[in-house]
């Protein structure tokens, strides 16, 4: 067990772990093919499949294979994995509009159930920009400033839960900031922009804080490289998010906009 854990769990473990990722890709392709059969719907665009595929791949690289193995002993690899799992993969997957695809694939009665679920108070609360930011950035503060970072490396279940949280919170945050899929309650662009700035600041402050006070056991040189990767890598991916948010804002404020021009 310990031997296996140290090198990431071995081949069998990796195969089992890659199963949900394969299922995610197959389900998405299947939904695309099935919904394309419907005559009154436009063909599901190829670029959305590509985004979904790369997004799943990014998440997969973070938890299976050499980078994931290295991340257990190297803080830089750990950070690289988190950028992929918590930021880049969520962005690509959100842009692939999986909920839209699901709703157009399911029969009307089932789709109605899903959309009423999306309008439930639970979804409304967790996908509020502020809640999503706290879950996302607050979760990172908890991970790196408490013993959780250590416990994660000793216990497989905590390891899985932490990574699941990083991914889900990243997805929630992205979908709360840029509206691609249907959203029950839309917040104004300015509101989202302001919340976004505070979330980005929380990310940047944590990066610099980790530079000087990394989790116990992380060497100074790894802490410095890892925190700079977190800082600049986060900036790069957030720049794409900011661009999309501003682009949507720009389109929505188009002068003399026709009513049916944009969703």
């Amino acid at each position: 067990m310990h031997e296996q854990h140290a090198n990431g769990g071995g081949l069998l473990f990796d195969v089992i772990l890659s199963f949900p990722f394969l299922v995610a890709i197959l389900l998405y392709i299947g939904a695309g093919i099935v919904s394309n059969r419907s005559r009154h719907l436009q063909k599901w665009p190829v670029w959305r499949y590509v985004l979904w595929f790369i997004g799943v791949l990014c998440a997969g690289i973070a938890v299976i294979g050499p980078l994931a193995d290295q991340a257990r002993i190297d803080f830089r690899a750990h950070m690289m994995g988190h950028l992929l799992l918590g930021m880049l993969a969520p962005l690509l997957l959100v842009l692939a509009a999986p909920m839209t695809l699901l709703l157009r694939t399911l029969p009307v009665s089932a789709a109605k159930k899903i959309s009423s679920l999306l309008r439930s108070s639970y979804v409304r609360v967790i996908s509020h920009p502020i809640t999503a930011s706290i879950l996302n950035i607050g979760g990172l503060w908890v991970l790196y400033t408490t013993d959780l970072y250590h416990m994660m490396h000793d216990n497989l279940w905590i390891h899985i839960l932490v990574h699941l949280h990083v991914f889900l919170a990243g997805y929630l945050f992205t979908m709360a900031m840029i509206y691609i899929d249907p959203v029950a309650h839309r917040y104004s662009y300015l509101y989202r922009a302001i919340v976004f700035i505070f979330a980005l600041a929380g990310h940047g402050i944590l990066s610099k804080y980790l530079y000087a006070s990394p989790p116990e056991g992380v060497s100074q040189s790894q802490a410095e490289a890892g925190s700079m990767l977190m800082y600049y890598g986060g900036d790069a991916i957030d720049a794409i998010l900011i661009f999309i948010l501003c682009w949507q804002w720009y389109k929505a404020t188009q002068p003399n906009k026709r009513l049916a021009a944009s969703p």
Binding site: A193, I197, L200, A201, I205, K208, D235, A239, I242, F243
Partner: protein
């Protein structure tokens, strides 16, 4: 009524030119700071042991704000262009005001009071501080001058 709405539209554009410029200016100054002084010259340090907590928070907030402002300011610029409301002179006035203000805040409050990091780690940093802050004041002055000139011209005296 027609001239009144034209008036308010012009006023609106005049304000927007200013804000678009200021936001982009703040972003530009922060971007130059990051690329030239942090990355290329490596004078600025990513983290300085003497940084205060409030310095870290101030830096984080300003960094996030300026990152957003760079992109947002350019979209506002594009918005003015598509509405035929762009006044390049006034926009540049805003850019200079924004960039100068950010640089002055960075140079006085963040470098000196919050001790975030120094401009360069040399024995005598005073000449660097002087050049930094004086150029910031010059930018603010030039920006204000441009803004003053364009506000007169932009005012619809005969509308």
């Amino acid at each position: 009524m027609g001239s009144k709405s034209l008036h308010s539209e012009r006023n609106h554009h005049s304000k927007r030119n200013l804000w678009s410029g200021v936001l982009f200016g703040i972003g530009l100054a922060a971007f130059i700071d990051e690329t030239i002084f942090h990355q290329l010259l490596r004078w600025h340090h990513f983290y300085d042991q003497s940084t205060t907590d409030i310095g870290l928070i101030s830096d984080g907030l300003f960094h996030a704000f300026s990152w957003f402002a760079t992109i947002g300011g350019l979209f506002l610029f594009a918005d003015l262009k598509r509405r035929n409301g762009l006044s390049l002179k006034r926009w540049w006035g805003g850019v200079l005001l924004g960039a100068g203000s950010f640089q002055l805040y960075d140079g006085i409050i963040q470098h000196k009071l919050m001790r975030l990091h120094q401009i360069r780690y040399v024995e005598n940093v005073i000449p660097y501080d002087l050049v930094w802050n004086i150029s910031a004041v010059l930018m603010i002055a030039a920006g204000l001058l441009l803004l003053k000139r364009t506000s007169k011209k932009g005012a619809p005296s005969h509308a």
